[in-house]
């Protein structure tokens, strides 16, 4: 088997995550899509680390995880706050950005 299969898998997962972000209305599911994209990236990092024989890829993946954790914390807090004021978790209900 070719090691690049891992990268292809990562790409597919990334695309699915992106599609989730675009298609789902529930903010929490959208968030999950983001997580999926991050994980897909991590897979690619790990694979590249193995491919090049360089641990930096794994280090980067590690940092991505940490940052992702921080992001989840803040993101979910925001969702909760918004839900409190608007009683809705739909991203479409928050359209204050309309021009």
């Amino acid at each position: 088997m070719d090691i690049t299969n891992y990268v292809v898998l990562a790409a597919v997962l990334f695309a699915i995550g992106a599609t989730t972000v675009l298609l789902r209305r529930n903010a929490i599911v959208v968030f999950m899509g983001v997580e999926l994209m991050l994980n897909a990236t991590n897979l690619a990092f790990v694979t590249f680390a193995r491919m090049h024989g360089d641990l930096t890829g794994q280090v980067l993946a590690f940092f991505v995880m940490v940052v992702a954790a921080a992001e989840v914390v803040v993101g979910l807090a925001i969702i909760v706050t918004i839900f409190r004021t608007r009683r809705s978790a739909s991203v479409d209900d928050v359209n204050l950005l309309r021009g």
Binding site: A11, V12, I28, V46, H52, V74, I79
Partner: protein, 272 residues
């Protein structure tokens, strides 16, 4: 796996071809399942699978971290929030923005295609494997630790600060300032009595099914006047449309009393 030559073992190949399709399926579940909880479970599956792949790819530390951080912490957090938020119409899969579905799908497929195409067409150097690149031959967690706390110690510290900041930020964001005086039992009681003329019930709401003949969570209670009290059913059930009207007469009560819950669930799902 030898340091000089690198070749993916047959076991790993099998593992990959078993896990990868399942992962893709689970990921697609994120797109297509209706309930957020189910989506979360799909994601948990993807993440655990990914941990397995990490371990297979000579990253045992990351595999463990993946399980602990993502599956253990992050996804739990998601579930907690889901619990807090509950369910609402946003779970629906009907599209409200015109054209968004096709645009999204197109972009998703396009991304997959282009990323896949790039990977397929790229000329990678011959894979080396991690042992080959580490002359010291140190096992993974230690080697990783050496890099992390050696070359990247500053980034490590910064990330620590980031995490603390995020935690504090979340606290600040979710913290609610008290706008009204604290409610005591006394004040609640006074308020209820004051609102009595408006038709508010003085007593606490009855539990669902208390005065009903069938003792079930999804059946509204009957008031002393024999009318149904819809508020007595959990909000979640009401939003999902899973509540069940109280049976009209005493004749029906005796027959449905035992099988009420199990019999009603498929029905209500059909309604939705």
């Amino acid at each position: 796996m030898t340091p000089t030559g690198f070749e993916i073992s047959g076991g790993e190949t099998v593992l990959f071809w078993v896990i990868a399709p399942l992962m893709v399926l689970a990921a697609l579940g994120l797109l297509f399942v209706k309930r957020a909880v189910h989506a979360a479970m799909c994601l948990v599956f993807v993440m655990v699978s990914m941990a397995i792949l990490y371990i297979a790819q000579e990253a045992p530390f990351l595999g463990v971290v993946q399980v602990v951080v993502y599956t253990g912490a992050v996804m739990m957090l998601f579930l907690f929030v889901l619990m807090l938020v509950g369910v609402d119409a946003s779970d629906s899969l009907t599209e409200t923005i015109r054209g968004q579905r096709w645009i999204g799908l197109l972009i998703g497929i396009g991304l997959a295609a282009i990323l896949g195409g790039v990977v397929a067409n790229a000329a990678f150097p011959p894979a080396r494997g991690l042992e080959g690149g580490d002359p010291g031959g140190v096992a993974n967690p230690q080697a990783l630790a050496r890099v992390l706390f050696g070359d990247y110690v500053l980034a490590m510290e910064a990330v620590g600060v980031l995490l603390v900041t995020a935690a504090v930020g979340a606290l600040v964001l979710t913290h609610r300032r008290r706008l009204a005086p604290k409610q005591t039992q006394e004040s609640v009681a006074e308020a209820r009595i004051k609102a009595l003329p408006d038709g508010v019930i003085l007593t606490p709401l009855p539990s669902p099914g208390v005065y009903a003949r069938s003792n079930a969570m999804d059946t509204p209670a009957l008031g002393p006047d024999g009318e149904q009290v819809p508020q007595s059913v959990s909000r979640v059930l009401r939003i999902r449309g899973q509540e069940r009207p109280a049976p009209p007469g005493p004749a029906v009560v005796s027959t449905s009393s035992t099988r009420g819950t199990t019999g009603s669930a498929p029905e209500s799902e059909k309604d939705a």
